[in-house]
Amino acid sequence: MEKMFMVKDGWLTITMPEEMDHHKAEEIREGADDYLLTGKVLHVIFDFSNTKFMDSSGIGVIAGRYKKVSCYGGKVVAAHANSRIRKIIMLSGLTDLIEIVD
């Protein structure tokens, strides 16, 4: 199985699950914050390569990490999101705060 969290050069990459809902949110939130607390992470990438579904719980997870890293000038990036995930992110208004890349 692919690792959910990976740190390289100050960037934490989070491999998002296939179904990003409330059931999965806590695991990601807690895991990510463990890495953020190490002080070795400045930016966060959410990798949506495997993700087919996301609801507002996913928005909560992204917004929560943004709040934490943005205090220190960190960036949040959403990568490889399909059109559905992009739509959800756009509707939430998060596009003003995070970067979306292919």
């Binding site: 809902d21 939130r29 579904f53 609801d55 719980s57 909560g60 929560g64 509707l91």
Partner: protein, 160 residues
């Protein structure tokens, strides 16, 4: 949107009599059941020959409503009281009702405002009702404190 209570319950009842098909699902209020609930409704609606986007819209809306019942209605404590998911199909429309017997909503108008959440500590985005509204054609919420909450939604399928 939160008024005309009688009209809404009656409308649900009346349309149901003309339904081509119906389903009812009772689940324990556990987060494991969120995906089960939305996938069950998605599978049920395939009879209307929906587009992929319509299926995703309904899945998201169901997920939001069921998650609300689990987190807010039953305060994430599980228990024996159910979340009840009902749906029926009329000509080119799916009608969905999601009900819990939990704590109820204090101020529905406020709860439906985008970004409003009573559970910021759980990092709820406050977008649940906004997504239900965005992805469905109709949304109506009834709630009584201490008694529970019922969400009615419907969406036209095909012919857009």
């Amino acid at each position: 949107m939160v008024k005309q209570k009688e009209a809404w319950s009656n409308g649900w009842q009346m349309n149901q009599e003309e339904a081509a098909n119906r389903m009812e699902l009772r689940i324990m209020p556990l987060s494991e059941n969120e995906s089960f609930a939305r996938v069950a409704v998605a599978a049920f609606m395939t009879q209307l020959d929906p587009t992929l986007e319509e299926v995703e819209d309904v899945k998201t809306a169901v997920s939001e409503a069921v998650t609300n019942s689990i987190i807010h209605g039953y305060e994430n404590k599980g228990g024996d009281k159910p979340v009840i998911i009902e749906a029926y199909l009329t000509h080119r429309r799916i009608h969905i009702k999601i009900e819990d017997r939990g704590v109820g909503i204090d101020d529905i108008g406020r709860a439906m405002e985008p970004l409003f959440t009573t559970k910021p500590e759980l990092e709820r985005s406050g977008m649940g009702f906004a997504f239900m509204e965005a992805f469905m054609d109709e949304l109506h919420v009834e709630s009584k404190q201490g008694r529970g909450t019922v969400v009615y939604m419907s969406k036209q399928i095909g012919g857009q």
